[in-house]
């Protein structure tokens, strides 16, 4: 594999991340953190690959299984709570309960 290519991808994505995040209003820093936290659960991809392999050892299977559970927990709770938080941000005329 071409590592150099990977490093370029990493560098460009990191700079893009900086530019995008800098524009986020401080108002939304908490939901932003839970959103990026949820995006980091992309490690679920690696976890599925490890646990789904045909000739995986018992160790790989066990570690992969735990990894899928942990990553999915991060993923599901991360997205759900971000949305729950954002629903609360209203501009005017707060609804009376």
């Amino acid at each position: 594999m071409n590592y150099e290519f990977g490093l370029y991808v990493f560098m460009l994505a990191a700079f893009l991340g900086f530019e995008l995040i800098r524009r986020v209003s401080p108002l939304l820093h908490t939901p932003l953190m839970s959103l990026t936290n949820a995006i980091a659960s992309i490690s679920v991809v690696g976890a599925i690959l490890i646990s789904g392999e045909e000739h995986a050892s018992l160790l790989s299977r066990v570690l992969g299984f735990i990894a899928v559970v942990a990553a999915t927990t991060n993923l599901v709770s991360g997205y759900l709570i971000t949305d729950r938080m954002l629903k609360m941000f209203r501009k005017r005329e707060p609804k009376k309960k």
Binding site: Y3, P26, L28, L32, G52, L63, A67, V69, Y79
Partner: protein, 456 residues
């Protein structure tokens, strides 16, 4: 290009759009949907790959993860959002560390891949234990005070050097498998030691930094697995966490090194024992009269508001004062609370319109024209010593200029010092009124007093 690669490409674009739309409240929910869609495509694409042949355990694991994740998100009260972020972060970091471990034993990698795996495992395991420790401190299972001992920085640094040394040895000579467990144990231990000296008020910086580590770990996994989607998503998370922690550091006028190794608030506690100076205090009735007569009121919330769960009562006060024609706004300091943006979420939960939540730089110039500043559970972020006293531990920290207002009201349980352990001269100013009591109870009596005169 196979189907899964096309799906990965679209997923990467959706993650970038997610962050782009997150920049403003009007599009933020679209951003979340975009992120969810990206993740869905990534999972579907991975399940379609021909390497993946055993589905039953994956499906079971996905279901278990969802079964834990849903209640974690739905049942968590908003005041516990920092804890939830920490625990969720711990899960993500654990996942990437375990995948790295499985890869190491399964493939016996060498060279560049081993280096990527070593970084993935080191960051994964240290973020795992560090996030658990942060969770413990935020949830107050562990003492939230910083715990320091002599030679602490030396021990931490030494441990890190040894761990990094083992990592390098494993890259140069991957057959020394006996060293691998030691590497894991050192990474786990380092995570614990890293958080021990961190105090509660530094948590916003540290949580953001750990977020960055979790992302970098996922990115390193992308290098190990030759997966561009992982590299991109990890890099986005890594840079986002880093920039947030830089913003937090700036808001305290401190460096990274100072937050991580400075153990703020421990050394200064002795200096807090100054002589008792006289303060003016007021009852809810007197305070309510002043609020009613004001034209403009600025509320400054701090972590104390979260602890007392006072945000809903504060919104009632906001409603009743606004109805009387008083201009009420909220001044939000970047490091108020226990994570970036903590106060905004709590006030939004209480239905305060977000255009009334004003950032520090935008509201400071209005302070001198403000009739009443009402401080609820904040301390160091309004301490004028940051501007006046070069010897103060918080010297140079940007503060909300509450002292410039015509009247300053501070709701506080007692006269104890703030997190930084230093006295606040704001309490002794001639235009300051101390309102002693629990924040929630006091604000609700303010609401009652104002309501009584409104209806009369």
């Amino acid at each position: 290009m196979s189907v899964f690669q096309a799906l990965y490409l679209v997923a990467a674009a959706l993650f970038i759009l997610a962050l782009k739309w997150m920049s403003a409240p009007a599009t933020a929910r679209r951003g979340v949907i975009s992120g969810e869609l990206g993740m869905l495509l990534a999972v579907i694409g991975t399940l379609m790959r021909h390497e993946v042949v055993n589905y039953q355990w994956i499906v079971v694991a996905l279901l278990i993860g969802a079964a834990i994740g849903v209640p974690l998100a739905v049942l968590m009260p908003m005041t516990a959002v920092p804890q939830r972020t920490a625990i969720s972060q711990a899960c993500g970091a654990l996942a990437s560390a375990l995948i790295g471990t499985a890869e190491y034993y399964h493939r016996h990698p060498t060279g560049f891949i081993m280096a990527a795996l070593a970084i993935e495992i080191l960051l994964g395991f240290l973020t795992f234990t560090a996030s658990l420790m942060a969770f413990g401190k935020l949830h107050e299972i562990l003492p939230s005070r910083p715990i320091t001992y002599k030679g602490q920085n030396f021990v931490n640094l030494g441990l890190f050097v040894v761990a990094a040394g083992i990592g390098v040895t494993l890259v140069i000579n991957p057959h020394q498998a006996g060293l691998f467990p030691a590497f894991v144990v050192l990474a786990l231990t380092f995570g614990v030691l890293l958080i021990i000296p961190i105090g509660g008020a530094d948590m916003p910086t540290v949580i953001a930094l750990l977020n960055s580590y979790a992302g970098l770990s996922a990115s390193a996994m992308g290098f190990a697995l030759d997966n561009k989607l992982l590299i991109i998503a990890g890099a986005l998370d890594g840079s986002s966490g880093l920039i947030l922690s830089i913003i937090m550091c700036r808001a305290m006028n401190r460096s990274f090194a100072n937050v991580l190794f400075g153990a703020f608030g421990q050394l200064q506690t002795s200096a807090a024992a100054t002589e008792a100076r006289p303060v003016r205090s007021a009852s809810a009735e007197e305070a309510a009269l002043i609020l009613e007569d004001a034209r403009s009121v600025v509320v400054i919330p701090g972590y104390g508001m979260a602890v007392a769960q006072a945000q809903h009562k504060i919104r009632e006060l906001y409603d009743i004062l606004t109805k009387r024609g008083v201009d009420v706004r909220f001044a939000i300091h970047p490091v108020a609370g226990r994570m970036p943006g903590h106060m905004n979420v709590l006030l939004a939960e209480a239905d305060v319109p977000y255009d009334k939540l004003v950032e520090m730089d935008d509201i400071n110039s209005d302070m001198a024209m403000t009739d009443v500043v009402l401080i609820v559970g904040a301390n160091d972020i309004v301490n004028p010593a940051a501007q006046n006293d070069p010897a103060s531990p918080i010297a140079g920290m940007p503060i909300l200029n509450a002292y410039k207002a015509r009247t300053v009201m501070i709701i506080k349980r007692g006269m104890s010092a703030g997190f930084a352990g230093i006295d606040n001269e704001l309490y002794y100013l001639p235009n300051t009124l101390m309102l002693f009591g629990d924040a929630r109870v006091f604000v609700s009596s303010l609401v009652k007093e104002v309501a009584a005169t409104t209806n009369a």
